[in-house]
């Protein structure tokens, strides 16, 4: 039963208010994309033990989507940010690095 901070309406939201949306920062592959690229976009999901970036919707609150940086094993939450961000904000990356030096994740737009 997680608690995540909704960056849109500013409340600490209980998991019962939230709907999960899977992996964050996917890049859409549309018509004309190669089969492998499309397959990766549609089905290929990382499922790390440790640092992960996920989509969440404040479904029974403001209805907005946001992204969360979380350790899937310890439930440590480093922070949340609006879904419109292309990648995690720098202070958030720094917080993860301070806690989990040498962490790596799927492509985060060249950072970390």
């Amino acid at each position: 039963m997680l608690i995540l901070f909704c960056p849109h309406c500013g409340v600490e939201a209980d998991e019962t208010e939230l709907a999960p949306g899977g992996e964050a920062h996917l890049r859409r592959e549309g018509p004309g994309s190669a089969d492998e690229a499309f397959e990766g976009y549609l089905f290929g999901r990382v499922n790390p033990k440790g640092v992960h970036f996920e989509r969440w919707r404040h479904a029974y609150g403001c209805g907005k989507w946001f992204l969360a940086a979380r350790d899937t094993a310890t439930m440590r939450v480093w922070g949340t940010y609006p879904a419109s961000e292309a990648g995690p904000p720098d202070p958030l990356r720094d917080a993860v690095t301070a806690d989990r030096p040498g962490w790596a994740w799927r492509d985060l737009g060249g950072a970390a």
Partner: protein, 1000 residues
Amino acid sequence: MSTRLSTGGRLLDRSRSLRFSFDGHAAEGFAGDTLASALLASGRMLLGRSFKYHRPRGLLAAGVEEPNALVNLGEGERMEPNRRATSVPLRDGLVATSQNRWPSLETDVGAVNDALGRFLPAGFYYKTFMWPGAFWKSVYEPFIRRAAGLGRVPKGRDPDRYEHFYAHVDVLVAGGGVAGLAATLAAGRAGRRVLLMEQEGWWGGRAGVDAPEIDGMTAPAWIERTVAELRRMPNVRMRLRAQVAGIYDHGYAVAAEDLEALAPGRHEGPRQRLWRIRARRIVAATGAIERPLAFAGNDVPGVMLASAVRDYLANWAVSVGDRVVVVTNNDDAYRTALAVHRAGLVVPVIVDARPRPEGELVQRAREMGLRIEAGRGIAKVHGRKRVRGVTLCALAGEGSGLEDIACDAVAMSGGWSPAVHLWSHCGGKLLWDEAAALFRPDRDRPPRGADGEPMVLSAGSADGALRTADVLASGLLAGAEAAGSDEEPAPLAAHDAEEGPILPVWVMPQGASPELRRKMWLDFQNDVKVSDVELAAREGFIAVEHAKRYTTLGMATDQGKTSNINGLAVLSQSVQLPIPEVGTTTFRPPYTPLTLGAIAGVAKGDLFQPVRETPMHAWHAAHGAVWEPVGLWRRPWAYLREGEDRHAAALREVTAVRRQVGMLDASTLGKIVVKGPDAGRFLDMIYTGVMSTLPVGKCRYGLICSENGFLIDDGVVARLSEDAWLCHTTTGGAERIHAHMEDWLQCEWHDWRVFTANLTEQWAQIVVAGPRARAVLERLGGMDLSAAALPHMTWAEGMLAGLPVRVHRISFSGELSFEIAVPAASGLALWEAIREAGAPEGITPYGTEAMHILRAEKGYIMIGEETDGTVIPQDLNLGWAISRKKPDYIGKRAQERSHMASPLRWRLVGLETMNGSVLPEGAYILAPGQNAVGQRNTQGRVTSTYYSPTLARGIAMALLERGPERMDEVVEVARKGADPVLARVVDPVLYDKAGERLHG
């Protein structure tokens, strides 16, 4: 015989006698008794039969860990199975019965299993019930089901009330023993909001029984003073009979409060309360549980945990026997010997496994003249329904008898195991403490919270502290840490006896013969013995989680509280690995079973789920509606007239629409407004067709696919203005499609200027359909509804019957049809006005079944009938609603995959049975030959099937391989338990193919 002593019993109120019955026998006890103590006091030791061998069983323990004394509590609809007699406070008129015996507890036929015990070892079911395969369903499963389970399910609905409580605190303290009290004191003094919960009905835990000295006074006096101080703190809440049952992520805890037990026989209001708590920090001060010793016959009634023997004495003034043999591997059990001796009863011998016991308590026993046999064990217990004596042996030997000693009770102690359950629920790890022979929480690997800091702190004997001074110190420290307080709490002095070291003993005697090992119980509730665990190890189940499942060790309702550590120690000896390498099984919540009533709370009956009602709901109910649940909505399935069944009603309704006119409550249809400068562009991505070019005032049918290409919803879109569209969805799809739109809008195209609003409940919607529809509506006056002013697939706003409306010319029945939206508050008024205006035509309200038949006659698809998450629009011949010019829409790329473009896909057709019968729903269309596992091949399936009153025969829609290319072919459709039916493949549009009627 167990009996009540004439004095003592610190929890008893001897001024209040209570009457109760057990298996029909009347007995008496006192206020303050548990059912267990009252039964013991009335001389009853035999309380149940074991699960597998039906062995006679008595009490082992005095607390929640009790494995044997499970009873049916109460009668009728209030009967509750598998209640532990040790956790039931006695009340006047209480009725309890024993379980798992027939015809009676004294004479139980199932006890034959005990004689056959050597043929029923671990894994017996797996080995025996495997073949022949056909026996499983008819012979084995019914047999196992009859034998399985202890209690019986109560008859009828539970009449009691339950509730949920929400609490947010800084510190939750689980356990109100002296460690929990000390922790609460430290956190409370630091000013934190603290919630302290204790599962029993008194504070102080076992300190009240063992009475060490604390802060210069006796433990009971200290407990009383501390509780009084805590009660004066406004930031501290305290609850008795409330057990923290489970700990979950981010400081979420669930606790069960037994309100009935707080005021036995006198309580009012909810019976139990489930607390849902968020705590910043949790202190687990849950105490420790004493371990039994594994010697032959350790399950005979009268063999009890040493701590329980002195609990019954001190708390309830119950002597469990006149002659109590004490058997131990540690000093603590000497407290029991001393207490029994002080009560004027006889301790014939203290059997101590250790060669040279030396502690302060041992010394005291010697001084009192008690006989101590060091380096000895018990070879066997005599007696069946009651202990008659024990045979002593050398611990190091194979069990040759040295001496028989007569006794009527045995108090055993194999040491203590910290109750680490709460620590472990959320990932806390354990350490094996070799010296103390126990698993304790590993502080370096605690459960952590969202901030990465330790979320659970363990305190007292739950942390492995066994001496009172250590227990108090760890309680204070945990409380201060949980409070985030920098100040060191003032220490509390305590004094209790120095104790000598424990000698781990897992099998007694060490070289016991196989015959003896078959009588050494580990798990009393599930009847798992030393020999079973050893067999599991020999057969390769050497991982602790495998051995657990193979033997069922620890899988009963007590979850192995008294058996798990002994079991894994025996396993570690069998596989010759140290105990920490064998490890423990996983501790899962709840700590003790919760009732389903408490879990449900008020969410049952009418409050189980909210029901969504349209503005016309009450009208439907008053006019014979039988309901169809659609999501949370209730829609009329049909309106029954006097003497009519539901199918006859639906057929009458269909005919009325085809011949005259009908009206349907379509308010449940989803209505989502999409507005903004980029709304057209956005809808072109959401829908497979083009919505941006739709002229204002017009309607267009649209399909919505998932990114995986599958059809997920359909509906008519109306363009309201230059920058606004109204998107109709299916009844079940409104929230889902709105969420789908928002997902894409917020996460993918967040820079597009579009707003969406789900207005489903703001509008009531009424369909008026049939050849006389226009005539009826024109009678209401206010709008030009002529074919010229309002052709098919257009909409117009205006007034009807004096109400503001938006009228859509759209049809889901194939008839001339108007869908009229009106503000929800006016829904009923418009409904009644139309009904009145249509009276001359005999306007007929129709339900969802008639709606389904009407659309099936026209070959219109239905989401959820023709689609199931594997169907793309192309399969349904809906290519006309997919734009070929658009570069992109959600699902377009997926539909380009080779499998989606395969000519062999199952595609939509109509089916006409050769004999006119109605096909079964979901039936498969057969293909020649068999597949690899001998099943008949298939080439399609029926998606919708009805009797059509219009065509006077069965009609069906189906998905069939290459369907549209196979018109007029005859196929075989499977039926259950009957020969296949022959059906001809036809066009799914069976009625008014030219579509003249809907243009009328």
